[in-house]
Symmetry: C2
Subunit: 341 residues, 2 copies
């Protein structure tokens, strides 16, 4: 059906001529055409208006021709739908004025009706699929329950999410109830996204790496694995857990189709830790896109050689930074497309 | 000479009855007696007044009886001595109004005369040694050149130190010159600290884990290793590089006496990656000190069993948090002292 199914074939573990490429946060602030929309509409308007969300989603594809699109949205639409107030403050980031701090707060959250609360996401998916015109696959995403809990409890971004961790360590019963409610909501949400047209879903565990290996199993992986299990029959699932090299082995035994890797875990370590068979995705240091274009091309070629062209999706090790020059992104994408070992 | 030399014996790899224990940032904001001093004197007054710095250093020893003291100071006294303005803003953290952004900025920094610029640190060491009265060893410390560069270029704390990394990746010549100047200054500084009475020195590479393994070798380890080589004949050297599990093998081949480990690297992984022979230090998650005291005791016992009592220094995996209850710190220290496997 898809004219370019390279991404799906890599997720299937098939032999490919070159690895596919896309960028985390590719519909983002480094793009002038995105900044033009951003000046006119605030954050939630952009997320909640299907015309805008679908337009932003296809902007980077038009400019660079990545092998997959990822729907423009935010992981915090989930706590918002669960009855937790979420604001996006300019020059500050997410702000949750009534964070979860007690059993009562947990009890006040709901597992929502997805169509009522997040129907706008499904509309954006349908509109995006039309714009993509069967050229490339569309990725939908959600935050991991642990990462959502981090924001829900901390109330804002943090270097160490100490309040979120403190909540788990001092009120484990309430924390586990909250994590399960987020998990249940996320499963319903991602199933609807797949029904609406997403070919692949990615779970972002941005703050998993704040936890020890033991706590990671208890407070994060246990819930991600439920989501993977629930979705695996419907779509390819990618798990990206930043900083969680120590859990790659456990993750590789799940029904996930691919695992994301950050730049602190070398290709060799990542292949070794994940058992050598599962597709891996990553892991260029986003700051390395500040290097001159010729350096970027050399490093991308080296990275593909180290991961190997098969069972591999070229990507960054975390989201693209706002201050990356456009020609450097070109150099990155072109180096992959020209790769021919 | 020392009445309690358990810490030095563990660094020597000798067989001990129980492992020694101290806490990173043990002279810190969780202590009410420290907060009383903090209310009266600003940050640099506390660092630069030997009576205050030595008093703060021994406060946690009086209360808990750790097996080592660490001199109260800050890693940013080094850039300050190198002619880079450093302020400590309340409720914000370090602020460097004229950050290093060009070759000219690098040229304007100096490798200072240590006695002229940092004599107050040596006075604080001598005064602390008198107060410690040969009971336990005294640790002196410095930031790694990379970590100092992070602040010198970024100008403040950061989630990803993107400006510091961008400086290294776009102006590598200037970056390496700056790193070498910091290295030269740090070697002179730590040698003087040892002469003044420090028994052990620790190098804190707080932000090494922001770099890929390849960039870590080029921009961080190369310089840390120079410091280790220059100091190893004079004192025991501990290297703590947060998030740098991937470099433990390389580090274990250096002349460092011990390597610090954070809580994302299990005892088993840390022993495996570091080759099994070098003394390791760590790695309790600082947020886990929020758990109830009985949980802390159980987890400490488990941690000692996993690392083994020999070639091991019990510590946290990063600095203690300000909001830790005093009785929880007691539980941590007592669990080590009562350990008897």
């Amino acid at each position: 059906m898809l004219k370019n199914d390279l991404f799906l074939r890599a997720l299937n573990g098939e032999t490919v001529k070159r690895p596919p490429v896309w960028l985390m946060r590719q519909a983002g602030r480094y793009l002038p055409e995105f900044m033009a929309i951003r000046e006119k509409y605030d954050f939630f308007t952009r997320c909640q208006t299907p015309e805008l969300a679908s337009e932003i989603t296809v902007q980077p594809i038009r400019r660079y021709g990545m092998d997959a699109a990822i729907l423009f949205s935010d992981i915090l639409v989930i706590p918002q739908a669960m009855n937790i107030e979420v604001e996006m403050k300019p020059n500050f980031g997410p702000w949750l004025p009534n964070p979860i701090r007690s059993q009562q707060d947990v009890d006040n959250t709901i597992v929502p009706n997805i169509h009522e609360t997040l129907g706008y996401v499904m509309d954006a998916i349908k509109m995006t699929k039309e714009k993509l015109n069967d050229e490339i696959p569309l990725i939908g995403f959600a935050g991991s329950p642990w990462t959502i809990l981090c924001y829900a409890v901390q109330g804002q971004g943090s270097k160490n999410f100490d309040k979120a961790k403190g909540f788990c360590f001092t009120k484990p019963k309430a924390a586990h109830e909250m994590l399960q409610k987020i998990t249940d909501t996320t499963i319903l949400y991602l199933k609807e996204k797949v029904k609406a047209g997403c070919d692949v879903v990615q779970i972002f565990d941005s703050w998993g790496g704040m936890l020890s290996p033991t706590d990671y199993q208890e407070f994060s992986w246990k819930y991600i694995d439920q989501i993977v299990e629930a979705l695996a029959d419907d779509a390819k699932v990618i798990v990206f857990a930043k900083g969680c090299w120590y859990a790659l082995n456990e993750m590789s035994k799940s029904r996930a189709s691919a695992l994301g890797v950050d730049w602190t875990c070398s290709a060799r370590n990542a292949r070794y830790l994940s058992g050598g068979n599962i597709t891996l995705q990553g892991n260029f240091d986003p700051s390395r896109l500040l290097s001159p274009p010729e350096d970027i091309k050399r490093m991308v070629t080296q990275m593909i050689r180290e991961f190997g062209k098969d069972r591999y999706v070229v990507n960054l090790g975390h989201g693209i930074l706002p201050n990356i020059p456009l020609e450097n992104v070109s150099a990155f994408i072109d180096a992959v497309k020209e790769h021919n070992d």
